[in-house]
């Protein structure tokens, strides 16, 4: 099998699996006062310190959650409620138009049900949010902004945002800046301390840890209303019994990912470039979406494992099905709850037409990817595109 959907989830790393199963076999609530509780607590705190260290944050900044979606919800709702509570005029929420749905649907709800005024920040054709765009949006009325959020790297087309500059723009006006770093963390350096973001979302299963654990790394002193109330764990921001095994595996996975990251970036970029080049040889009409493969100074960078292409005349879900039948697993981008592939909001925001957006596939490489995976795609892509375009021509003729 050729698994090229690491951006959806990546196989658990051996270090994480070892830590996970070892701790799962042990009893202990990290909030208990006896020896078992202390043993669990020690694991949680050592994991917290390890993650904080690689994020250049303080250990107490790391708030463990149930995953990336929860962290995004906590950051955006928590900051919005807290800021609006302190100053009812602060109702504006500024987020990029290419966010993950965990951000977009959360702020949409804040708009529909909580009186927020949501503004989507435009991106350019590569998916990049220009700092001037954010500056202009803030400048329209700085006093009314509650929170700003721009993802660190895009989940579909891999665009790496100028997070430091964007955070600096927000900070000039004293505004809190959150970033969804789920795709970036473990692949490229993500740092939260200093002048960087005030809050960042990270998730374990994207770096080789288990599903069901993540963190919101949030600067201490930044007031945040909790989503869940209860036992007061995690600085009273996120109640609930700590997931000791998950947290241990998260730290183990992140530690391994970071140790390998410099070499992996070079290795995956080379594999990815080879994949894109050879696909374009086989399918001359294929179009790379997002930033160029090798960024020149001043150009946006791209996640090393990301290849996102459109195959004009084909439906992405036809391509996916045909590749799946040949044992090659990739993604069309965003799937809705019914499993229907809708044209990607990311590509539409980048200015692509609906047809171009529907014709896209994302291959995302990760720590288990090898040259043989690239070869498998290259061998299959020609006939697959040929078939899918036959079905696509049919759709075009009959007008659906």
């Amino acid at each position: 099998m050729t698994y090229l959907d690491h951006a959806a989830t990546t196989p658990m790393r051996p270090e994480a699996l070892a830590a996970y199963t070892a701790v799962l076999a042990d009893t202990g609530n990290a909030s208990s006062l006896h020896a078992s509780g202390r043993r669990a607590r020690r694991i949680v705190e050592e994991s917290r310190e390890a993650l904080a260290e690689m994020l250049r944050a303080r250990p107490s900044d790391v708030v463990f959650t149930g995953g990336g979606t929860e962290s995004d919800n906590l950051a955006l709702k928590g900051l919005y409620w807290s800021r609006r509570g302190a100053d009812p005029a602060r109702r504006r929420v500024l987020v990029s138009a290419v966010e993950h749905r965990a951000v977009l649907d959360t702020v949409r709800w804040l708009g529909d049900a909580q009186g927020a005024e949501v503004e989507l920040l435009d991106v350019d054709a590569t998916g990049l949010v220009h700092p001037e765009t954010l500056a202009a949006a803030i400048a329209r009325d700085p006093q009314s902004v509650a929170v700003v959020s721009v993802m660190w790297a895009n989940s579909e087309v891999g665009t790496i945002q100028p997070v430091a500059e964007l955070a600096a723009v927000a900070h000039r006006h004293g505004l809190p800046f959150h970033t969804d770093a789920v795709q970036a963390f473990g692949q490229i350096p993500v740092e939260v301390g200093g002048d960087g973001p005030d809050a960042a979302t990270i998730s374990a299963h994207k770096v080789g840890g288990p599903v069901g654990v993540g963190a919101l790394v949030v600067r201490r002193g930044l007031a945040l209303e909790p989503l869940t109330h209860g036992g007061g764990q995690e600085r009273d921001i996120r109640s609930g019994t700590l997931n000791t095994a998950g947290v241990a595996a998260f730290a183990a996975a992140a530690t391994a990912a970071r140790a390998q990251a410099p070499a992996e970036r070079a290795r995956l970029s080379a594999l990815r470039d080879d994949l894109v080049d050879r696909i374009r040889e086989r399918v001359p009409g294929a179009v790379l979406n997002g930033p160029p493969l090798a960024a020149r100074p001043g150009e946006p960078g791209r996640l090393p494992g990301n290849a996102h292409l459109s195959f004009p005349g084909c439906e992405g879900d036809s391509l996916l099905m045909l590749l799946d039948a040949r044992g090659i697993e990739c993604s069309t981008g965003s799937a809705c709850s019914a499993g229907v592939a809708r044209p990607s909001h990311v590509l539409l925001a980048m200015g692509a037409g609906e047809e171009h957006a529907r014709a896209s596939l994302r291959f995302s490489l990760g720590h288990t990817s090898r040259a043989a995976d690239v070869d498998a795609v290259v061998a299959a892509i020609g006939p697959v595109v040929e078939r899918a375009s036959r079905a696509g021509a049919l759709t075009a003729v009959t007008g659906g």
Binding site: L320, L322, A338, G339, V340, T398, G400
Partner: protein, 352 residues
């Protein structure tokens, strides 16, 4: 053979897919998403486009161990079935959306796409038999027979279709589903129009078409008996819900005889005025020459009457030996020789 199984989430299509697997085919399950906003239909009636149905179909595919995908045909369904349904009612006709869906979606858009993608056939859970020579027959279960809603399909459409359930009764299908461990074994049958969640067709059409008031006129005297706010809420042959305060002079019930969309006039009269002796159908699937003695059926699960049918250009002229009552333009007429489907078309005109 590479086979695409259309899986609605119901028991029939699940068992049909299972039988295709047992027959040794390489089966892929596909659920057709026909609603533009499936999440809004979560609490809808039993139809074929809710999230729950998609999940049931997926679970059945899991049990069968076959790949499963959702195909988004919402746009096609909206244009080819829903808009056609609305426009037909607006024009005073009474369409059958299931017939239309089979003609334009399942055995057109889906079938064509499947063939282009390399599949050899499309399997559905329709209760009908299809002989190797392409002859369509009624199901062995007369209560569940669906040959009528397939009766206007052309030979080319049927050529790549497979109906594995035609030799079984619904009871047998349900028992088999239970034996196979399919959770949909006792899922209720769907009856209503799948895109009208609450079954209130008149109200649904009023939302789409707005109020179009007009008179209710007596066919015999020409007298205006009442008013209505949309002729689309009426069907030829309808007796109840006319809202006429007083009975006919002779005390007999009145029926809708005719709907004129241009003047928004609904004409009512006695039952015998509904008798139809002759039908002209267009968009006909009729691969026969000359005049054929046959039996005609004009509605799903309706009775058959002896008839003679002959092609006239692209049209089909059907002469009925005994009158059928309350047939409306827009419905399908399907012609049988015993349990064998000869062909069919869409009623364009009726004659007394």
């Amino acid at each position: 053979m590479r086979v695409l199984a259309a899986m609605s989430g119901g028991v029939d299509s699940a068992v049909a897919a299972a039988r295709a697997v047992d027959a040794g085919h390489d089966v892929t399950g596909v659920h057709l998403a026909l609603s533009r906003a499936p999440e809004s239909d979560r609490t809808g009636a039993r139809g074929c486009c809710t999230l729950e149905d998609a999940r049931d179909a997926r679970r059945a595919a899991d049990v069968l161990g076959i790949p499963f995908y959702v195909w988004d045909l919402a746009e096609r369904f909206e244009t080819d079935v829903i808009e056609d349904f609305v426009q037909s009612y607006a024009a005073g006709r009474t369409p059958n959306p299931c017939v239309r869906c089979n003609e334009r979606i399942k055995f057109a858009a889906v079938l064509d796409r499947a063939l282009a993608l390399g599949f050899d056939a499309v399997v559905t859970g329709h209760h009908a038999r299809l002989d190797p020579d392409g002859t369509l027959r009624r199901s062995v279960d007369p209560d569940k027979d669906q040959s009528y809603v397939l009766g206007t399909l052309r030979p080319a459409q049927l050529a790549a279709a497979r109906f594995p359930l035609g030799d079984s009764t619904k009871t047998q299908v349900r028992r088999e589903a239970a034996e196979r461990g399919l959770a949909v074994a006792d899922k209720p049958d769907s009856h209503d129009i799948c895109f009208i969640a609450d079954g209130d067709t008149g109200g649904w059409l009023r939302d789409r078409l707005g109020s179009r008031p007009g008179p209710i006129v007596d066919a015999g005297t020409g007298e205006t008996l009442g008013e209505h706010d949309g002729a689309f809420a009426f069907t030829v042959g309808q007796r109840r819900g006319l809202g006429l305060g007083r009975p006919a002079p002779d005390g007999r019930p009145r029926y809708v005889l005719d709907i004129s969309p241009v003047t928004s006039t609904v004409t009512v009269g006695p039952a015998e005025a509904l008798d139809v002796h002759r039908l002209v159908a267009d968009r006909a699937a009729w691969p026969h020459e000359g005049v054929l003695a046959c039996q005609a059926q004009v509605r799903a699960h309706g009775d058959v009457v002896p008839a003679e049918a002959a092609a006239r250009g692209d049209e089909l002229v059907v002469t009925l030996a005994a009158p059928v009552r309350g047939t409306a333009p827009g419905q399908a007429v399907v012609l049988y020789d015993g349990d064998r489907v000869l062909g069919g078309g869409h009623i364009r005109a009726i004659g007394g």
